[in-house]
Symmetry: C2
Subunit: 134 residues, 2 copies
DNA sequence: ATAGCTGCAAAATGTTTGCGCGAAA
DNA sequence: TTTCGCGCAAACATTTTGCAGCTAT
């Protein structure tokens, strides 16, 4: 795996993120350090990094744009339907179902996408206040 | 909720499917009974049915087209990376983690998307045979 | 009459790709 | 000298939408 200056910058930038930026958000961040970079290059390198398992692509159900995640440990995502924020959640015991699934169905799991959709705490509080204000 | 002839036909057609058709696949099926229907109408009615919780939209990670599902009971999806088939899998005890999640994070889960990516049995067998044939 | 539904075609959107050029191994 | 990566812009694919007419209430 070769790392051009752009590929390295994109990877480093994503690693510095605690949230899960879209390609365009990353493009905006990266351009601050390398103004000549193009959006196509960001997409191309993100795809390369995904294919080599360096990062993960995440397509939140109900949102159009893909998001990217430098965290490689197994974890689930919480997606707030109000603010669209994506939170991480560790679910240590989840991969234990793979064996059971294979025994029953013959399906060999390689990777899991576990998404909980709902409302995060701060949005829940906001909604509650709006209601009492009426 | 009012049901036009097209909306009803789209819903009935989807209910008759054991797999998880895309909008275009449904369009093809529906046109056999109603050749004048348009693809836009299929999309519009699918959105209405999703919004009213009559059906579920499912966007398999790594596939571009959305798929639709008339089954309303909670279930997970197995997506084969070889043939792209989407299988259903019942996971009865899954919703029990919601309380735990809310206690820890304050996130209130309303709906779960659980996808296992891997290789289904028939594709696994195919791959195995190809390898021994070499 | 009024609200909702439809076909059609155009638009919108996120992502990919072809090309010619330049940099790196 | 050959492979890879780049910027740019055009292409692509799925889905949405504006419009004008129609259907049912």
């Amino acid at each position: 795996m070769r790392y051009s200056s752009r590929r390295q910058l994109i990877l480093d930038t994503l690693r510095s993120c605690t949230n899960h930026p879209t390609a365009e958000e990353l493009y905006t961040m990266v351009r601050k350090q390398m103004p000549s970079i193009s959006l196509g290059t960001v997409y191309r390198n993100l795809n390369v990094l995904v294919d080599s398992d360096e990062i993960r692509k995440f397509e939140p159900p109900g949102q159009i744009k893909a998001r990217y995640d430098a965290k490689r440990e197994e974890h689930a995502h919480l997606v707030c339907r109000e603010c669209n924020t994506v939170y991480d959640l560790n679910l240590p015991e989840v991969s234990s179902i793979d064996e059971e699934v294979e025994k029953i169905t013959g399906f060999c799991t390689e990777q899991r996408d576990i998404v909980l959709n709902g409302v995060c705490r701060s949005c829940r509080d906001l909604l509650r206040n709006q209601r009492t204000a009426l």
